[in-house]
Structure formats: structure tokens, C-alpha cells
Symmetry: C2
């Protein structure tokens, strides 16, 4: 069977392949018919050369055209939404509703359109003008961006339509998308809409290119190539750290989202006040999407008490009662089982689940584990290993100081939640514990589960290593996410007519926010 | 002789040393009498623990107190200025005037006071509020910062008083200063003023700590320690890349300033219009401070012509006629000689200098080298190796397309300059070449030498690797430089009274700039 074509330099053409692979339907375990190529370095090399040329062209392209492309692409995806959703459903096992149709697709379209607005507006670039000093600077595109998409958001974090993709493009960079191997067909459809939109809006055709898979060594070579500007990667910690090492050695920025257990601290007053409601809320958040979210609440910290015991039993009963969803792939199922085995080996007791589930396809029983604070502190490394899927670890600590010690032992995480009594009874405990939690997490939540990640300008979907590779940046949220794919360009005594439009005396749109002599304004440079 | 004490946990105490070293007076080659310890890991470990505790305290400290500390420290340095300048002069050979007294000391005091204002104001943190979404975020301190200061700015980039120091402190982080081994006494005096100012303003005494030197392995362990937030390093490429590798592996941000040849393109119209003036300007910039600036113009690109030959001869004559300054240290002298030998071995012809200079202390003759564009393109790696000191390489290319090819082969640099005819005759050439230069440099200048680096909010003292480790950040310029030493903290549905002051509904000062629902304002969150 002929392998599917890659998209390079605006052409769908046969890959220069070193092998092939096929995706599976994880709900049935059946191999899907389409065959995809594993590209050789020759494909990467050609894509890089084409992207570098596109990058030069994009720098000369008015931001309005980049915005038009993103909007057009959103329209084209919307027009093909049913087919794309069908394909994503087959490749990932994620339900069409509630999920792909009513959550992820609208989010994907919204991100494309928000990114279009950010590109057109330009304020993301923080233009800064020192009038008297004759010095002006802003964030500018930095060159081709490689995007490695994760398995768990086939639309909204797809390497050819998702968060990193729209951020890189809106910042003015071409993208080389590396499909996630578990949904290559969905990615191909997204790249098809991109190429059509590029053709319609006249952007360089190599602004979006697609390779399905490469060998590991070629992936490392790709992210460290001199023609690359930066890389966005969301996926497993092992593969991500290899890419990071290669990119770091070459001095190429790489933004990673690796793993996170997303600690949830439930204070005693919250359990006393609304324990049953919390058990329901937690169970919903933890099992939604079969737990396959970067921000899944994988660890819950509870203070020992009778009420806590009742809460734990309540959640365990709910885990046992809930249906076991389909996992994204055979490798997710394998990794979940092995991670849970590791937690058990480190002393975790099984309160619910703990083994494979009945039913077709890749499934594992909803799993609730438990250790004491003392056990955790004796083995903090093994016990905070992420078990990606429908699993969580309850840590029952004896008192607040043991909770603080536990938080001090946490690695960096995307999120941290604290539930407390609504009338203030837990406030002293909150004040004691949050200073230990806050530096470990990118986003702190109160009385809210971490699984919703709004595309808000104030969002941080990021956090200290190893949740990500740099604690100063967010992967979700427009316009902040654009700033990852930029370099700071300064113009010192550059003649006025040679300045980029964003830094000239006259505000190019009347809407662009600029910091002029310490004042944020949408006005012109004062005469 | 007793070794000088280190400053750890607010105490000047004997180091737990593995050895000692002494500085030299580079103007005479004489060893200076003071003996400084090489700290063992025990000193680093104690400093890290104390810094981590100080970091927690600093997070609770009102920004006004941090500002007060920086101002007080500036006052104390000013009061001891004559003695500090005398010590820096002896340790570095840099002239008191023009330089230490009238340029570097005022700059150092100015930076401390600008950083104080930035800390008090808080707008550097880009507070961002999504009112309806209930999501708020800003940049917050990220923990102890290790600062490795360079040899060439004993005051303004001193690890205990300079650019990285003030940025880290103003962002709310404690600093562990690692003195530059060529001016330990100056660094000690700066740390003395810091401790006095800490005592006067009631900040945690471990906010500033000083170690003079460590073994290489301990340095790498220091920057990758879990207690560290980030590192600022300015110095040699070799040592910097080792630290970067260690920090990267641990996922700890490290901001490096490594090396840069700072290409200057002189277009034909500029030579025709004001060749003699340019020769004078270039010579002054290149030989100032014996060429020991990060932004020294180490490479000049010229288009072949008779006028260019005259310009080259003019500069060579000026290099021969100018006095040969003192170099900062024996190792700078050795490295300059070896770098120049490397350029000669790669084919560079010597137009002036090329060997050691007469006179006491460490000196090398003002050196002007030359290659053709063809030679450069045959050996671009060796011929863009920085020769730190009073040396520059002229590259005479045959035409604009050879110039463009040369620029395409450049690594990342801090600066790039283009001189052109003032009436527009060079504009077509400018437009042809700048797209090749712009992506390679952090700061683009017109008709101006790169050696002045104003402390401006719009400055970029940064650039693509290997000039620095990340192209998005600047080491000079307040408030932007503060953002290196911060993590993005998001608050999602956090109860109002638990928000940091900068993110509460009421603007805490009436002056803080915040991005509220897409609008930059100094106002409150609308009711």
C-alpha cells in the first residue's frame, strides 16, 4: 500500500522514508488501514530549507495577512468539522460528545481566531520606545518553529492546528509540524486545511509543513538545526528531555510540556462543609477524558481524620462505580499500568482499580491509590511519578507540617489546587501551606479542579521544571503564548523610515499598545 | 596569611576552603597581597540554604523595602566611591578617568536606583487580569539567583553590585555572588556595602552572599541545585557552556552572555562621504578600554574599492599610532594572543599589531587583521572567533551578494551596525543586506558604534546563541532585565483577599501598570 504523502514546500508528495507505521483505533485495538511514512533526514532537511525561506518572506508580510490566514484556516476546519471529528474519534477513542464536537473543536477554532486577532493587533510584541535615547525594541519572529503535538488533544494541541501552532504562526514564524503518531490522519486533515488557506491568502506555502514521524536521532537533529528558530513539544518526559538536551546544546529555545501530577490540597473545613460534593467534583475531574489531561489531578493531599476517611471511601466508591473509559493508545495503556505498578512498588495501597478493565480496546480500571505522608516523604521521587490516565494518588498526612514538608518535596507542576472552607475556618492552614505550594506550580487554584484550561490572556499553562522547560512562559493563553516564539529586536539610532511599522512614531493602527517612555499608550510618539 | 572572609548568612566568616588565590595588578604584573579562598561545596551548600530561606522572606517583603535597600546600597557605594574605584583600578588596570570614576561608577549607581524604582513600581511584572474569567497572573520572584560577574566591568557588572545583581534583587530574589577572580577585592567592598544596607533596611541578611571562587564541579552543582531559581553568567564561552549544560539538565534558567564579534557593515557611500571621520570613530570604539567590551566591534565588513583600501590604511595607521592599553589580566593577554594566532592561522593578514606590546604589565599591540570575503566563506567558523581585546578583523567582500552570504554564516551576536550615506545613496544596499543581518543580532544600530550600551527600557543587550543563551531576554535595561529572574504565577479563582497586592481589584499604588481585559491601565479593576 502506498504511504500517505508528507507536506513539504507546499506539495503533498511521497516521503523519502526509512519505514512506515499505522495508527490504531484504541476503542477496538484494530489497526487502521492508512500507512504513514517515517521520514528520513532528507525530508527534514528539505522542510527546513523551505521553512527558512518562508520565514524571510513572512517577516515582510503584513500582520493582517497572517491574521487572514488563521481565520481562513478556522473557516476551512469548521467546514470540514464533522469529517475531522470522525477521524479524531477513530484515532483517539475520545468521545465525539461531550468532547471533540462540543469542547475541543470550538476551542480549536477559537484559538485560531484569537491568534489571528493577536497577530493583527501586534500588542503581544511589547513594543517599547525610549524617545530621547533613540532606542526602540519589540519581540519579533525568530524563525521556523518545530511543533511536536501530544496524543491527548488531537485538535486543540494538534501540531498543525493547535496551541503551539497558532502561537508560532501568529508571531510570524513558519511551522514544521511533527504529527503525533497516534493521530496522523487527523493531523493530515488539519495540514490540508492549512495549505488551502495558505493558497487562498497568498502566504508562503512552506509556512505550514507536515512530517508524520522521524527517527529519534533525526528529531534531535531537527530541533538543533541552525535553520530552526525554536521548538514546541508536548509529550512524554523521556522523549522531551532528549530533544531538550539536543536543542539546549545548540542554544535553540525549546518549550516543553512534560509531566505534572497537579497536587490538590483539600483542607479539613472543605471536607466538613461539602465533602460529598467534593468527592463528586474530584471524581469527575479525574476520570474525565479517561484522566488523560496534562492537568489531571494526580495527587490529593489530605489531613488525617475520620472525615477524611469517609471522603476517601466516598471517592473510592465513585471510582469503582464509574465506567472505565478508553485510553488513547496501546502505549498509554502500557505506560499507565507500569506507572501504577511503580507506585504500588513504592508502597501505595490500592483503594480502587489497580488492573486492566473489561471491554474492548485499551482500558484500565479507574484507579485510586493511597499512601501516608510518612511513606511519601520516605520515597518522594517514586511517589510523584505521573501515572497518565484515570488514576490518582491520595496522600494522607498527619498534620500541616507534614503537608508542608510534602509540598517542599514536590517537583515543578502545572497546577496546584487548594480547597478550603468557604467561611474562613481553613484560612490559617491555607496561609501556612500556600507559601510551600505556590513556588512549585504555574497556576494556583482555589476551590476548583485543574482540568479546565481557559484560553485566557491571564492563563498560565506552564510551571517550573519538569512540568515545562522554563517557568516564565505559558503554552496556553493568547497573546502571552506567542512570546515564546520570538526574539527581542532592538533598534538603536536606526533611521526612522527603516524602523518596523510597530516602532515608527505614528501608531500604525491606532490600536497597538506600546510602552513609550514608561507609559503604555495606543497613541503616537509625542511630537 | 589569613584568607579573606566569605559573606554567608549575613556573616563575614572564614571560608571552608579547598585552596586560595591572589589577584594581580595587570598594569604591573605584580601579585596583590590579599589572599582569597576557593570555597568548597560546604560554603555553597550553606549559602544555598540561607538564600532559600531569604527567598521565602523576600516574597513577604513589601517592594518598597527592596527599593529602599537598593537605594541605600547606592548611597553607601557613593560614600565609599573613591576607595572602591582605587581598588578596581588596581585590580583591573582600567583607568580611573575616563572610565571608572566618570562612566562606570555613575552607571552603577544609576542602575541601582533605576532598579529600586522598578521594584517599587512593580510594572515590570506585567500583571494581567481577566476579570470575567477570574484569572490573574504576573511575573513573580523565582528563588535564589547565582551571579557570575565578568572581568571587564568591575563595578557595573560586578556580581555584587552590577546589572544582573540589581535585576535579580529588584525582582525579589536573593543573590549568591561569585566574584570574578580578577577583582575579588572590589567585589568584597561591594558586598560590604550590601550587607550594611541590608542591616539598615531590615531585609534578610542572606539576600546578598559572596563566594570568591569554587572548583568547576562545584560551580556546575551550584547552578543546578534544586534550591536555585536561576543564574546570570557573563564571561568566557567555554566556562559558560559548561554551566549552561549543568543548569539546562536540571531545568534551571541560566542567562548567559558569552561572546560576540559585533559585525559592523560600512557601506560605500558612508566611506565616500565621511571615511576619515569613520576611521577615527571606529578606532576610538575598538580601542577604548583596550577593546575589552562585550560589544567591541570585532569584525568590519567592507565592499572592495579603492576608497575602501584608503579607509583600511587609515585605520591601520591609527591603530599603529594609538597607545596600547593595559589588558585586564594575564589570562586575557594570553587568550588575546592565542585568538589572534588562530585568526592568522585561518588566513588573516596583519595590517597593524599582531604581537605583544612594549611597556609594563599585560599589553598587546593594537591589532588590525584582514581577510577577503572568499577567505571568510571558506573558513567562517575560525574567522568569527572572538579575539577579546584591542583587535578587529576587516573582511573585504567583492560585492553585496558576498556580503549577504557572509552575514548568513554569522553566529548570533549582541549587536550589528550599518553605516550608510546620509543622503540615501546606500539605501538599496541597506535594504538588501539588513534582512541577512537583523536575525543574527540583538541590537541593530545605524551610523553608531556598538560600544555604548545605554541603560534604557528599550535596550537589548542580548541576542541569539552563542551571544547569549536565549534570544528573548536582555541583560541591560530596566525593567526588562528583571523579567529574566521571574516565573509566571497564575491565580485561577483565587479568593480576592488571598491575591497578591498587584493583582487585587484596587491598584495598590495608583501607578502600577496592569493589563486588564486587554487594556493597559493604572486604574482599578472596573466595578
Amino acid at each position: 500500500m502506498t504511504a500517505q504523502p508528507v507536506l513539504i514546500r507546499g506539495q503533498w508528495r511521497a516521503a523519502q522514508a526509512t519505514g512506515t507505521f499505522q495508527a490504531e483505533n484504541p476503542a477496538t485495538g484494530a489497526t487502521l488501514p492508512e500507512v504513514y511514512p517515517v521520514s528520513s533526514w532528507a525530508d527534514c532537511d528539505e522542510a527546513l530549507t523551505a521553512a527558512a525561506a518562508a520565514s524571510v518572506e513572512l517577516r515582510r508580510t503584513p500582520p493582517a495577512r497572517i491574521g487572514a490566514f488563521l481565520r481562513k484556516m478556522a473557516d476551512r476546519i469548521e467546514a470540514r468539522a464533522a469529517a475531522i471529528i470522525e477521524r479524531a474519534h477513530i484515532e483517539t477513542g475520545l468521545p465525539k460528545s461531550p468532547r471533540l464536537t462540543d469542547a475541543e473543536m470550538p476551542r480549536t477554532l477559537g484559538q485560531l481566531r484569537q491568534a489571528a486577532a493577536a497577530a493583527e493587533d501586534g500588542s503581544w510584541a511589547l513594543p517599547t520606545i525610549d524617545v530621547k535615547g533613540g532606542i526602540r525594541s519589540y519581540l519579533a519572529p525568530l524563525g521556523p518553529v518545530c511543533v511536536f503535538g501530544p496524543n491527548n488533544f488531537p485538535l486543540a494541541f494538534n501540531s498543525c492546528s493547535g496551541g503551539d501552532f497558532v502561537a508560532a504562526i501568529a508571531a510570524g514564524n513558519p511551522v514544521i509540524g511533527k504529527a503525533n503518531s497516534s493521530h496522523p490522519g487527523t493531523t493530515q486533515m488539519m495540514a490540508e486545511t492549512a495549505l488551502e488557506a495558505l493558497q487562498e491568502t497568498g502566504l508562503p506555502l512552506a509556512t505550514v509543513q507536515l512530517i508524520y514521524r522521524t527517527g529519534h536521532a533525526d528529531g534531535e537533529r531537527l530541533v538543533s538545526d541552525p535553520r530552526v528558530g525554536a521548538t514546541g513539544y508536548t509529550g512524554s518526559r523521556g522523549a522531551g528531555l532528549k530533544l531538550k538536551e539536543a536543542a539546549d546544546r545548540a542554544g535553540k529555545p525549546i518549550y516543553l510540556e512534560l509531566s505534572s501530577v497537579n497536587p490538590v490540597v483539600v483542607l479539613p473545613g472543605a471536607i466538613a462543609e461539602r465533602g460529598d460534593k467534593l468527592a463528586e467534583e474530584f471524581t469527575g475531574s479525574c476520570l474525565m477524558g479517561t484522566g488523560q489531561f496534562c492537568t489531571n489531578p494526580g495527587m490529593v493531599i489530605l489531613l488525617a481524620s475520620e472525615a477524611t476517611e469517609a471522603f476517601v471511601t466516598n471517592v473510592a466508591n465513585r471510582f469503582n462505580a464509574a465506567a472505565c473509559g478508553v485510553l488513547l493508545s496501546k502505549s498509554v495503556a502500557k505506560s499507565l499500568a507500569s506507572s501504577i505498578d511503580g507506585l504500588k512498588a513504592a508502597g501505595a495501597a490500592v483503594l480502587a482499580g489497580g488492573g486492566p478493565a473489561e471491554g474492548t480496546g485499551y482500558r484500565y480500571r479507574n484507579t485510586l491509590l493511597r499512601v501516608s505522608g510518612q511513606q511519601f516523604l520516605a520515597n518522594p521521587h517514586a511517589l510523584q511519578n505521573e501515572a497518565f490516565g484515570n488514576c490518582s494518588l491520595f496522600v494522607v498526612v498527619k498534620d500541616a507540617s507534614e503537608a508542608a514538608a510534602l509540598l517542599d518535596h514536590l517537583e515543578g507542576n502545572l497546577t496546584g489546587c487548594v480547597y478550603s472552607d468557604t467561611t474562613g475556618k481553613d484560612d490559617a492552614l491555607y496561609d501556612q501551606l500556600v507559601p510551600h505550594l505556590r513556588p512549585k506550580v504555574g497556576r494556583l487554584l482555589n476551590d476548583k479542579m485543574p482540568t479546565g484550561v481557559a484560553v485566557s490572556p491571564a492563563m498560565n499553562h506552564g510551571g517550573p521544571f519538569p512540568a515545562t522547560g522554563h517557568p516564565g512562559f505559558t503554552a496556553v493563553g493568547i497573546p502571552a503564548a506567542l512570546r515564546r516564539f520570538a526574539m527581542l529586536e532592538c533598534f538603536d539610532a536606526v533611521r526612522p523610515h527603516r524602523l518596523p511599522a510597530a516602532l515608527q512614531n505614528n501608531n500604525p493602527s491606532g490600536c497597538l499598545w506600546r510602552l513609550i517612555d514608561g507609559v503604555w499608550t495606543q497613541g503616537d510618539v509625542p511630537a
